[in-house]
Symmetry: C2
Subunit: 452 residues, 2 copies
Amino acid sequence: MRRRAQSTFVRPSLRHPARLVPLAFLGVAAVGTGLLSLPISREGSDAAEPITALFTAVSAVCVTGLVTVDTGTYWSGFGEVVIAALMQVGGFGIMTMASLLGLIVSGRMRLSDKLVTATETKMLGLGDVRKVVVRVALVAICVETVVAVILGLQFRFSYDYAPAKAAWYGIFHAVAAFNSGGFALYSDSLESFVTDPVVILPVTIASLVGGIGFPVVVELIRRTFKPSKWSIHTKITVLGTGVLLAAGFVFYLAIEWNNAKTLGPLDIQHKIQAAFFSAAMPRSAGFNAVPTGDLRPETWAVTDILMFIGGGSAGTAGGIKVATFFLLAFVIWAEVRGEPDVSVFGRRIPHSTQRQALTVALMGVAAVACGTIALLFASDAPFDQLLFEVTSAFGTAGLSTGLTGDLNNAGQIVIIVLMFAGRVGTVAVATALALRVRHRRFRFPEERPIVG
Amino acid sequence: MRRRAQSTFVRPSLRHPARLVPLAFLGVAAVGTGLLSLPISREGSDAAEPITALFTAVSAVCVTGLVTVDTGTYWSGFGEVVIAALMQVGGFGIMTMASLLGLIVSGRMRLSDKLVTATETKMLGLGDVRKVVVRVALVAICVETVVAVILGLQFRFSYDYAPAKAAWYGIFHAVAAFNSGGFALYSDSLESFVTDPVVILPVTIASLVGGIGFPVVVELIRRTFKPSKWSIHTKITVLGTGVLLAAGFVFYLAIEWNNAKTLGPLDIQHKIQAAFFSAAMPRSAGFNAVPTGDLRPETWAVTDILMFIGGGSAGTAGGIKVATFFLLAFVIWAEVRGEPDVSVFGRRIPHSTQRQALTVALMGVAAVACGTIALLFASDAPFDQLLFEVTSAFGTAGLSTGLTGDLNNAGQIVIIVLMFAGRVGTVAVATALALRVRHRRFRFPEERPIVG
Ligand SMILES: [K+]
Ligand SMILES: [K+]
């Protein structure tokens, strides 16, 4: 009897995750738009323009961070709280839902041995759902609290903020960092803290933890020093994240070393610090410590690629996801070597997973291509700025060369659609129909990384 | 004994097509560079710069058509003959080799029933090779002769060229058109003929025939009015070509309708004619009837996509190929519908073919991305111009916004590498390892389109 009740509760929503996730985000975005449209949300006596409220709400709940107005001066304290709440709900929501979907799709990434049976029948019990929700909340609260305390103390004692302001700025940026929210209360993001590791480092670490994905966090906590026992998904994600961070770091350092407007004026230690921060942010935290608009075009292009790839699956990061990108690299490598099977770390990747990765990546390319062409009609800005903004929106990175604030309404709507598609699209596409495929044969043991 | 001798003759080269095709093209490019470096090849008394001879030879043998100097005035009559010969050898070579590789990879695209056995053992007899070579030559000679005669007569009697010049201009542009060579003896390509259908139409048709691929041409000739009996490859390629031509036509017409520097000044009939021509050329003939540099940025972006896709497999066109692109679209469609198998026109596409398509497309994306970033280091031109030139080089389209002539040596070398990778890379990648996979099981009947 009890078992029956659980199934009835969970199944209807989890059977149609392709609809559930977008609907949930649409609902929250609508509520957010309503709240931000209230006069109380805006600094001064006027209410915000509807398009501004919509853009900001979608950007916050999709944890993107692109803005058409300056967050710190345009919105009131209440508006800032709404934005922080939207980032928190959006980040928590995507992490929880994507983790649950990942649990269903993948038999391997279980929370406990008891779950194996449940996942094999492609169902979760109510207890499992509760377990995921509670653990995601625990991770979020722990990381955000630690970072908020560090930032708040630093703001209070090194920068002499009033206690209330220091506390709020600490909380806001901790929430933004862990949830890859990208919003900052400073009009120049974190540029004024480029030389302050006490601000930069906690923000970077929070965004890495939030952005690497909940299943990886769980496995890293449980099996920190047993990497050989990690699931294939964790292995690919951790390795891929390392490769991308290192490559980005080297590129940023090499290209921007002498750029008088970015790394040029810094001493070596701060150059390294800023380059590492800049390499980590496109994963999709979206803060910047050097002015994005002044980066060289080569750096923009490299950043485009990093933003398109994004972070880990079932986390707060956007993009096609690290596992998707490297899985496709392994597929190509197998093809070039003439191997009939794609094997990674001793496991064969099923065709269906390869096809999911292909679909997510190519639909991502299509979204960026269509978005860029659409924006060409709406704006006269240079192509690389448009491409950067489109990639940032799709990857929910939130970095901006400064274009978004100048877009007309049509251009803003293109960006809104891209943020939404980038946030829920990849998750929905990757998991929606993995659940519908019934065709099964017994073959060699398989293991599926989460794609998207 | 005779059978043994045949095997010995054919097998060594066909077993390593990944090496054979690039080596053949490298060899011809080297000879071409040598010839074009002779003083006799250049107008006036000096010899060409080595980088110019190299760039032109690679562009000609890869049937791209990008140029750093004005073909008609920089090179002597002898130099023009060398360029025409390189285009002919390049076009003939890629068509023949890709057709033979296609025959081996695909059991369905046979020239005669006798061949089925041979292809199943992944070998061709000497007689079959000769048959393909002769038939490709026949198609080339027929189409080129007809077009050369039409163009020559038109140049002689409507434009009052001297007989020898009319004949040479007719031959040169017929060779360029059929082989998707992209070179023209006019510094403005075919812009002065934008209103002359007697020049525009034969060139368009020749480039469509050459660019749709030899296997499709053979099947269209043999089974013109029995489309239901066409191979899956022919069905996808013909349908896809129609879709891309129609979409390109509509885009060009819509975007450029009022552009004073392109379609604006033309009357409706000539607008339509020029838009159709412009939609067909990115497939990779590479002529232009309106100035490419004056097209709107939206049109550049659409053209980028068309050039990247290119034309039919085993023809003179470049790009990832129409069949590859639409095959991937079918894969995505199957994924979105939750179908375990990808079925097109009643046939299941094997996983290995899907993986080849994925590999060709993603390596193409990687080539364009890396090429663009490399060119950013070598040039200060706007991003969209660089992207256009890179895509044109990779797709061996040969259209240019005017940038190539201004590139420094490093930039020219990037373009040379891209032309080479685009010309032989996709063919080599797509077929090389399809021949090495040994793992086979009996399953449902399958059919493989040529990919790349
Ligand atoms: K973000
Ligand atoms: K061409």
